[in-house]
Amino acid sequence: MPTITIDQQEVQVEAGSTVIQAAEKLGVYVPRYCYHPGLSVAGSCRMCLVEIEKMPKLAISCHTQVQEGMQVRTNSDQVTQARRAMLEFLLVDHPLDCPVCDQAGECDLQNYYMEIGQHDSRFLEDKRKAKKASVIGPHVILDQERCILCTRCTRFCEEISQTDELGVFNRGNRSVIDLFPGQLLDNPYSGNVIDICPVGALTEREFRFQCRVWYLRQQDSICTGCSRGCNVSIHHNPSRPYKAGGKRVQRLKPRFNPEVNRWWICDEGRFGYQFIDQNRIEQPFRRVSGELEAAGWDAVLEEVSTALEAVLEKFGPQGIGIIASPQQSNEEMHLIHKLFGELMGIEQIGYRNPWESEGFHDDFLIRADKNPNSRGAEEIGFNNDSRSLLEKAASGEIKVLYIFQHNFESEEAHELLARAEYVIFQGSNWTKTADFCNLVLPSSTHAEEDGTFTNFEGRIQRFEQVFLPLSESKSGIEIMTLLARRLKYEWPYTDSSDVFLEWHGKAYDDLEDFGELI
C-alpha cells in the first residue's frame, strides 16, 4: 500500500489508486467535471490537473496512479492558474442561462467560478448556438448549449444502464450530446443522468421551473418502490409552501450507499413520490348507511376499541384478524405485534397481499417485490396466510378484520370483504379496500415519521421524518399508542426511537451509516 503526500499531508492508499482517490481519502477536494467514481475515467475535462513533483507538466489526478513517495500539490499557483484557465474555456461558449436554469445553486460551473474564478470575461465573439430545452425522454430535458461535454451521461448510458442512447456527435467545438433521431432516453434509469450532469444540460422534466434549489431542505429516506430499498433524499420546500400548490415533496435524489444502490436509483423510485402528497386519506371516516362519513379521531378510536374489546370478550382472540403490510416500518409492525400479538394474544396476523403479482425486475436495482419491508414483516413473524384470514372474515369466523395499507383490487378479495362483518382500514392513501370498510383511519407515509425498513437482503435502513403528517393523518405509531391507551394497556412508547431501541437494541444514531444486516 503506497504512501503519498498531498499538500504536505501523508496518506496511504491501495495500490492502483489514483491521485484523486488518495485526495478523497485525505478529505482534499479536487475540482472535477468528467470524473465520477461510479463511471470509467475519461480524463477530458482537465479540471483535476495537479502538480506532481518530477513530472514536467501538470497531470490529471483522476488518471494518474499513485507511486510510493509521490509529492502532490493541489493548490499551488500553477494548479490554480490551470483550473481558472479550464473554467474560462468552459465559460467561453456557455450560455448566460443562470436566471432560467434549474441547475442554478447546485451548478459546478457556478460553484467553481465562485471558488477560483471570479474573473471578468474577455470573450468578445458570438456564442455558438445549439438545441435548447429539447425533451429527449419521459423525464429528461437536454440543453446542448449548456453542455460542457464531460461525457458523464454517455458513459452512464454505456456502462450503467447499458442502453447506449446518448452519444457525442460532430467534433471540435461543434460537438454535441444527442440521441439517434427517433430514439428516446427512456431506459428505466434515465433520471440518473440528471444527477450526474454537473451543469444544467440535462435537467428533470418534473422539476423544471418548480423551485429554486436554495429553498430546498432535505432529509434522508428510503425508497418504498421495491424491496431493494435504495437510499434517497427527499427534497422539500419548507419556506414557501404557498408556492408549491399543495406539493410538499419537490423531488427525490438518490443517496450514495455502496452496499445497496451506490449512486443510482431507478426512474420509478425517483419519480414515485406522488403518493406522499396526492390521493391521501386526510381524516377518519365511518360508514353510515353505506356511505363513508367524516368523523373525528375520538369517535373513531372509541369505536375501534369498543369493537375489539367486545370481540375479545365474547369470542376470544380468534375472533380478530390482522393483515399488516410490507409497506409499514419495522417500528409500526413491532407495535402491531406488541399490541395485537402479545397484549391481545391474537395469532392471526398476516402481511402479504395474495393477489399481488410479481412486478418487473432486472439484474441491476429493480426487484420484483414492490414493497419496501417484506423482509421486516417476515422477521417479525407475521406468517399467517392473508387469504385464509379474509376467508375466515367472510365466513364469520373472524368478527373484526383490521387491514393496514393494502390495496385489494381483485374481485375475489372484494367478494370476501363484502361478506365480512366488520372491517377496519388504516392507511395513508385511498385504496379499493376502503370501499369495503366500516372505518377508515388515516395514517401517515414514511416521509412523515421516523422509522426503518429491512430490505430484501436483511439490511435495516433508516428513514427520517421530513414533515408533519398531512391534515389529520397520524403516524402508525401514534395510532397504536392511542389505541393501546384506550384499551388500558401498559404502553411505554412515545415515539419511533423508543420502539426502535426496544426492537433492535440500539439508538438510531448508532445504526451503521449504510444500514445494518440482521
Binding site: 484557465a85 479550464m86 474555456f89 457525442v168 471540435g172 460537438s175
Partner: protein, 424 residues
C-alpha cells in the same frame, strides 16, 4: 556533394511499383537478410544504432520505441502503419505510396520480424484514393508471389497486411487517435499511460510507425546502421524527405541528409523564393511548428537543432512565405485548420482552438482590439501542456509564434482595420 536517394530513388519511375521490377533492382534483399541472417533483437539494435527517428512528426527514436514492446504477454503484437499524412504542408508519404509501395512493404516485413508482429494495418487517409489503389495492387502482388502471407519470402514467418482507409480526420494521425479509429470508434486520442507499445490495438502491444520511417529499413538492413547514422548528423541518422511548398520556385519532395541547412533546401534545391521576392518566414516542420523569421531561418534541419531554434522538424513539411504574405492571415488559416480538426474531447483544445480562430477572424474583419494580442498569448499558454494530446500544444506553439514574431502585423490590422499586404 551528390545527394543520396535512399527512399526517393524511384520517384517518378512508373515501373518501380511492380514487384518483379522492384526485385530485379535489389528489392526485398533487406527483408531477406533480416529473416535469414539476423535475430529480432539484432535488428532492433541495428535500428537503434542507425539513429532512425520517427519521420511522421514526433521524431521518437524508432528502435527504442520497438524495444518497449513486451513479447511475453501472450497477446498478438500489431503494427499500425501511419499513412494518415494530414499535417498541412506534408505530402512526402504520398510519394512513397504512389511510386515505391514495395519499399514500404519491405520495411513492414523487417519491422514485423524484429518485433514479433504477424498482422499489420496500413491506416491511409481517406482522401488518398489513388495511392491506396496503388498500394492495394502492390499488396496483392506481394501475396501472389509469396512475399506476404503464411511464409513471407519463403521463410518460416507469417505476416498479413491490410489497408484500412480513413475518412477525413487529421487527429487520426495521432498514434492513439489512429488506434481508436482502427478499432471502429471516433478518433479520440487515449489517455497515456498506458502507451501503445504496451496496450495498443485491441488491448495488445502495438507499434505505430510512419510510412517513411519504415521505408528506410531495407537499406539500413543491407548497408548497416553505421552507414545510415553517418549520412545524417549527431542524433538524427540518415536522410529524410522534405516536402517543400509555399513561396518557392520549385515546390516538391527533396531527400536530403539530416542536418542539411534550411537555406540549402530553399535556395539550392527549391530554386529560391518565387517572383524574385524576399523570404519573410518559413515553417520548418508542418503547421504545428513555430514559424521562423527570415533572420532565424538559417537553421539545420534535424530534430534537435530545430528544437533549439524554438520550433520543430516535425513531418519535414517546409512551408516558405515571402515578403507579401500576411502573417495574420497565415495564422488565421492555420487556426481554421486546427479548430476544424480538433476532436473536441478535451476542454483546452476544443474551446481554445475555436476561440483563437474566432479572435483572428474578428481581427481580419477589422474589429480587433489591442487586448486581443495579450489574450491570444495567454490563451495559447493555457492550451499548452494541459490537453490529452499534442494537437493543442502544436496549435498553441504555432499561432503564438506568429503573434510574438510578427506583432507589428497584428497591430496594423487592429489599428487600421485592414491588411497592409492587400494592395500588393
Amino acid at each position: 556533394m551528390s545527394v543520396q536517394k535512399l527512399v526517393s530513388e524511384y520517384f517518378s519511375n512508373p515501373e518501380a511499383k511492380e514487384l518483379a521490377w522492384y526485385r530485379r533492382h535489389g528489392g526485398y534483399e533487406g527483408a531477406l537478410k533480416a529473416l535469414d541472417e539476423m535475430k529480432p533483437q539484432e535488428i532492433i539494435d541495428e535500428v537503434i544504432s542507425a539513429n532512425l527517428r520517427g519521420l511522421g512528426g514526433a521524431g521518437f527514436p524508432t528502435g527504442r520505441k520497438w524495444s518497449f514492446v513486451p513479447r511475453d504477454t501472450g497477446k498478438p503484437i500489431y503494427l499500425a502503419v501511419n499513412a494518415d499524412e494530414s499535417e498541412p504542408g506534408t505530402f512526402k508519404d504520398r510519394y512513397i505510396l504512389e511510386w515505391d509501395p514495395h519499399r514500404l512493404l519491405e520495411g513492414i516485413i523487417i519491422c514485423a520480424y524484429a518485433v514479433g508482429i504477424h498482422t499489420a494495418y496500413i491506416y491511409i487517409r481517406g482522401e488518398y484514393v489513388r495511392p491506396a489503389e496503388t498500394l492495394q495492387g502492390a499488396i496483392e502482388e506481394a501475396y501472389q508471389e509469396g512475399v506476404l502471407g503464411k511464409q513471407v519470402l519463403g521463410k518460416d514467418f507469417s505476416l498479413d497486411v491490410h489497408i484500412h482507409r480513413g475518412a477525413g480526420a487529421y487527429i487520426c494521425g495521432e498514434e492513439t487517435g489512429l488506434l481508436e479509429s482502427l478499432e471502429g470508434k471516433k478518433g479520440w486520442p487515449r489517455l497515456k499511460p498506458p502507451f501503445p507499445a504496451v496496450v495498443g490495438l485491441f488491448g495488445s502491444p502495438t507499434v505505430i510507425n510512419n510510412v517513411e520511417t519504415l521505408s528506410h529499413l531495407p537499406r539500413i538492413m543491407v548497408n548497416g546502421s553505421q552507414w545510415f547514422a553517418e549520412i545524417g548528423c549527431e542524433r538524427s541518422g540518415g536522410t529524410r524527405l522534405f516536402a517543400l511548398s509555399g513561396s518557392v520556385k520549385k515546390p516538391g519532395v527533396y531527400e536530403l541528409p539530416m542536418g542539411t541547412s534550411l537555406h540549402e533546401l530553399i535556395y539550392q534545391h527549391g530554386g529560391g523564393i518565387w517572383n524574385d521576392k524576399a523570404l519573410k518566414a518559413v515553417i520548418p516542420g508542418g503547421a504545428s511548428a513555430a514559424v521562423l523569421t527570415h533572420q532565424e531561418s538559417d537553421v539545420q534541419l534535424d530534430f534537435d537543432s530545430c528544437i533549439k531554434a524554438g520550433s520543430m522538424l516535425g513531418s519535414g513539411a517546409v512551408i516558405v512565405m515571402d515578403e507579401d504574405v500576411c502573417m495574420v492571415k497565415a495564422a488565421h488559416n492555420i487556426m481554421r485548420f486546427f479548430a476544424h480538426e480538433s476532436c473536441g474531447q478535451c476542454t483546452p483544445c476544443r474551446e481554445g482552438t475555436a476561440w483563437v480562430y474566432r479572435i483572428l477572424t474578428r481581427i481580419l474583419e477589422g474589429q480587433g482590439t489591442p487586448d486581443d494580442i495579450n489574450s491570444l498569448l495567454e490563451i495559447g499558454g493555457n492550451m499548452s501542456g494541459t490537453s490529452i494530446c499534442a494537437l493543442s500544444d502544436g496549435a498553441a506553439m504555432s499561432f503564438r509564434s506568429y503573434v510574438n514574431k510578427f506583432t507589428s502585423e497584428f497591430e496594423y490590422h487592429i489599428r487600421h482595420g485592414k491588411c497592409e499586404f492587400d494592395e500588393r
